[in-house]
Structure formats: C-alpha cells, structure tokens
C-alpha cells in the first residue's frame, strides 16, 4: 500500500508518545486554532534545580504531520535543559521522522513552535527571561499574529482586526475590531490574554472590542 507519509511518521501518527495534559504545568502553550485546521498544546514540567525538562506532554487537533511532529518533539525535548530544548528545530523533527512532505510544513512547524512557546511561557512565569526586551507595540502585534479568528481562519493581524494597540508603563491595551457579542469574542480574548499577560514587564492588560 502507498501512504503519503514515511513509516516513521505513520508510526508516531498511529501511536503518539506523551499524549495528554500535565496538571499544574510549569509552562504551557497552544499554537494554531481549530479554524486553521491544526492546533497543538504543549505542557512542560521543569526540574527547578537542573533546569531540565522532567516531563513533557502534548495534545493535537490536526492532520497526521501535526500529530507525528507533536509526538516526536516530546521525545526530542525530554531530559534536555530548557536552553537545549529551545533549539529543537523543525529540521531536526523532520529528520527524526524520516522526512515530512514540504506542503505540510505549516502543520508540523506548529508543534515545534508549541515547544518553544511552552518554554518561553515557563521562563516568563518564573522570571527567567534573560533577554529582557521591553514590551512594545511591535512585540504585542507579533504575538497577535498567533491569535486566529475562527471564522476566517486568519490571524487577527492578517484579517485586519487589530484596531489599536497601546503600550505605556507596562499597561497594554488592545482593541479588536469585532463586536463584543461576536460568537468567538470571548475565545479570542482568552487567547490574547494567554499570549500577552505573561510578558515580563506587563502589569495590566485590557482587551476591548469595538461595539
């Protein structure tokens, strides 16, 4: 039989490793959304002394390459220090899986980003951000690129829904060009909060809608 993926991808797709949630994780991240067809959540537990990843789990809503990549990055990250784990790349994941179809880069890169974001989330929560760049409008905008409007499947930035971003003395205000009673308004707000509130210098965050 001919399948569109390598043996290794199929193996991880069929029997994904380290699936599930971690209760009270030290770091977590969600990348993608149901609208774009792929979504991955990554949870990590970090040994506070050695800064090694003691446990890592993932959950996936997505196609085979998303599931397989989620699985492989947990194997690649486990036992590594957070600095090592941060460097796990899509290329490495793809190589470990015996190659991924080029058209599926988007779906599989999400899992790699998920791991990085979970580590970043850990560092932000634990005051470990070394490179303390101040949060600017650009930093906020960059994060909003990862928040997807489920209706269009586009990010808030690409869909031109970010009406205003204001950053002043650690107070961040974001205005989204959607009615407050929009069916996904609360989900979108929750995602924005999750992506921005842990930035090291953010004290207060307000998310507003236009109507």
């Amino acid at each position: 039989m001919k399948f569109p993926y390598s043996e290794k991808v199929l193996e991880h797709f069929r029997h994904p490793r380290n699936v599930g949630k971690i209760k009270n994780p030290d770091g977590k991240a969600v990348e993608g959304s149901p609208a774009c067809g792929d979504m991955v959540a990554v949870y990590i537990k970090v040994d506070p002394r050695t800064k090694r990843i003691a446990d890592v789990k993932f959950e996936s809503y997505g196609c085979a390459s998303n599931i397989a990549t989620g699985s492989i990055i947990t194997e690649l990250a486990k036992g590594k220090t957070i600095d090592e784990a941060k460097k796990v790349s899509w290329k490495q994941a793809s190589k470990a899986l015996g190659g991924l179809p080029p058209i599926k880069v988007h779906c599989s890169v999400l899992a790699v980003e998920g791991l990085r974001s979970a580590i970043q989330n850990y560092e932000e929560r634990h005051g470990l951000v070394k490179d303390r760049k101040p949060t600017t409008v650009e930093v906020v905008r960059k994060r909003l690129r990862k928040v997807i409007n489920p209706v269009s499947g586009l990010s808030l930035v690409r869909a031109n829904l970010v009406k205003d971003i204001n950053v002043k003395d650690g107070n961040v205000r974001v205005v989204i060009d959607l009615p407050a009673n929009h069916q996904f308004a609360s989900a979108i707000k929750e995602e924005i909060v999750e992506k921005i509130k842990h930035l090291w210098d953010v004290k207060k965050l307000e998310v507003e809608f236009t109507e």
Partner: protein, 388 residues
C-alpha cells in the same frame, strides 16, 4: 496488505463494470475505424452508426433527441462548453451577467471565475444550511443583462438535490438560459427535458461505473452555443476531434446497467450509515439535507477532529473516503461547500464524505461505522479541544 479494501469514494471515480469493458472491447480491436460519413468505407460507417446508437441511448434518458447530445471528455469539459460556449455565442449582445450558486463544483465555479476575470459580472447565489439555493435571490438576481444561470442538480460533496424544476421555470419565465451540472444525478434522479425547461445538462460516465474520459452535454435545440474545439466537423460541428467510440459505447452500456433497484440498494446503505453514525458517535453533524439527497451520498462532520487524520486512519484500515478538510486538498483550502452552507472552518475540517457504488454492500457500511467509532474516539483522546 489488508485482506479487504472498501472503496467509499465513488463520486470521485468508480470501478469500471466488467460488462462495460466487454461492450467496449470490440471497438478497440474489431471496429476501430474513425466514424466516417455515410459515403465512407464500411467499417467507418459501422463506427458512425455505433456512435449514434450510443448517443441515442444516453439522450433517451434525458428525454432528448440524439441530435441534442454531444460527447465530451467528461463533465469538466461539458461545463466549460456550457458556460464559455454560451458566452462566446452571445457575445456582448445581451449582457455580461452570469448567475451560479456558491457551492457549484469546480468546473462551473472556476469557469465562472475565469469569465469574471474577463469582465463578466457573476452572482454567486447563497444556499441555506442544507445547501438549497435561495429561490427568491435567484428571481431578484436575474436582470436584463443576465445571459446564463448555472445551478447544479445535486451537490458533489453533501448530496443535496436542488428543486431543479422550479429553478428552470424561473429562468424560462425570465428568458434566461439555464445550465445544470447533473454529474452526480444522471440516471439516478430523473431529469426529463420535456418536463423541465433546462437548456444545457452536463453528464459523465465516471460516476456510474463507466469509463473515465467520456462525458456529454445536452444542448436544447436552438440554444446559442459557440464551437468549442476547432478542427473537424465532429459532434454536429460543435466539438472537433476524433470521436471516442469505445468510450461512447461504454458510457451507453453503463447507463443501461443503472436500475431503480440499485438506487434503492444505495439508498439503504446511505441511510444505515447516516443513522448509525449519528446515533453511535457523539458530536456529529450530517451535512446536506437528510432526505432530498442523492442515494449514494452521506457526509458527516466529526467535530473536534481533523478530517485528514480520519481518512489516513481509515486508509490504514482499508477504507477509502474523502474529506473537506484543508489538509486533504491540493489547494490547502477548506471545502467551499461546507463553508457555503454556513459551516465554520472547524466543521469543514472535520467533514468526511462517503459515496457508495455498485460494489459496496451493507457489511462495508457496518465495517466503516465501527472503524470510525474507534478512530474518532482515539483522535478525540489526543485533542486539546472539547475537554473542559
């Protein structure tokens, strides 16, 4: 290698019936001459008579004269001829406005878009949650400028059958030409041109266990249409090129082999699949109307799971199905049909189409439902969604 392979993608392509192949064979090895005029040599005359006989059998199903039916290479070409041929023939004498539904299959949809790029105005009619065209919007959309309406007989993905009679009558009353893509209804859902004032009908052999590469277009007598393919004088001087006589013979044979009993058998499989899936697998939605749907089609969204994962798991267990998920398509775009009936991207990504054919049976239905229950449960277990 799996011991059994269950093919449930018959709307995309279907297994050739052995009897069709047998009917075609003599026209590869015995009578293989081109169809000549009545003053040609004997084998050529026999070829021409064979072609005309096949044409008659197919036209008959539509209640049409054999002179109103041309063979093409398939439904894609037929719909291209219908839209572009009418436009070419009418020029800009009457106007530059075309109306289609927003859930048309690609041949009509993309022909309309191509015309749009050339300066035509296209209205894409809305459909309701089951996929039915908004008839009031159709009435209101037709203007003095409108030259053609093209609305499918039934939908390729969700199987909804349009009220084609009313649609055709609206167009006739307003004096506008009407084309319908009947690829998925031909021989299975009656459509008689003596009762329904439709001017152009796209049909194909590949969905009814006929050969691939042969289809046809009904063109009502007097319909303005430009010659599509330049060359010789074949197909009433409307489409040049050496005729595909084995294909035409196979198409006619395939038409003859479709029976009402078979339709009932397909319908029973469809109904069992729909009833079992909706009852036994949680969080599922039927796409398309429950009853006004073609007998061979079921389409269900399995919420919170992605369709390509479902199809791959099913493939590894020996089942072939298709999905409206972006990940499965060549364009990486989610199904325009599911979005068209008001579904969101999540509903499109989780949609799976099952289309039955002559070589399926009830055991296949039960087997796929059981496999689905497992696959969907496993995928939901690893999903971050729907657990709060």
């Amino acid at each position: 290698m799996l011991d059994k392979f269950v093919y449930l993608d018959n709307a995309a392509a279907s297994r050739l019936d052995d009897r069709v192949l047998e009917a075609m064979k003599p026209y590869f090895f015995g009578v293989y001459a081109v169809a000549t005029s009545e003053f040609g040599y004997s084998q050529g005359i026999e070829a021409r008579e064979t072609l005309d006989k096949a044409r008659g059998i197919i036209a008959d199903v539509l209640g049409a004269s054999h002179k109103e039916f041309i063979f093409t290479s398939g439904s894609t070409e037929s719909s291209n001829i219908a839209l572009k041929g009418v436009v070419l023939a009418l020029g800009e004498k009457k106007g530059k406005h075309i109306i289609i539904s927003k859930i048309e299959d690609f041949p009509v949809l993309h022909s309309a878009k191509a015309l749009e790029r050339q300066g035509f105005r296209v209205t894409y009619l809305d459909v309701d949650n089951d996929g039915f065209v908004d008839l009031d919007q159709l009435r209101e959309s037709i203007t003095e400028e409108t030259i053609l309406v093209s609305i499918q007989h039934a939908n390729q993905e969700i199987g909804t059958i349009q009220d084609i009679k009313t649609i055709a009558r609206i167009c006739r009353e307003k004096g506008v030409l009407f084309h319908t893509d009947a690829t998925h209804t031909f021989t299975r859902v009656p459509l008689d041109v003596k009762e329904v004032p439709v001017d152009l009908i796209t049909v194909s052999a590949h969905t009814i266990h006929g050969p691939r590469g042969i289809g046809g277009l009904y063109i009502r007598k007097g319909t303005p249409i430009a010659k599509w393919m330049d060359g010789g004088f074949q197909e009433f001087d409307l489409r040049a090129g050496i005729e595909n006589i084995p294909g035409a013979v196979g198409f006619a044979k395939a038409v003859e082999l479709v029976t009402p009993e078979e339709n009932d058998r397909l319908k029973a499989m469809r109904d069992r699949l729909i009833e079992r899936v909706l009852a036994e697998i949680p969080s599922t939605t039927l796409n398309g109307d429950r009853w006004m749907r073609i007998s061979q089609n079921a389409n269900v969204t399995f919420h919170l799971v992605e369709g390509e994962s479902i199809t791959l798991h099913l493939d590894m267990r020996g089942f072939a199905v298709s999905t409206g998920s972006a990940c499965f398509s060549r364009s990486l775009e989610a199904s325009h049909v599911i979005l068209g009936i008001g579904g969101d991207h999540e509903r499109a990504h989780g949609s799976v189409r099952f289309t039955f054919g002559r070589y399926n049976n009830m055991e296949d239905v039960d087997a796929v439902v059981e496999a689905l229950a497992d696959v969907v449960r496993e995928l939901r277990e690893i999903s971050p969604l729907g657990k709060d």
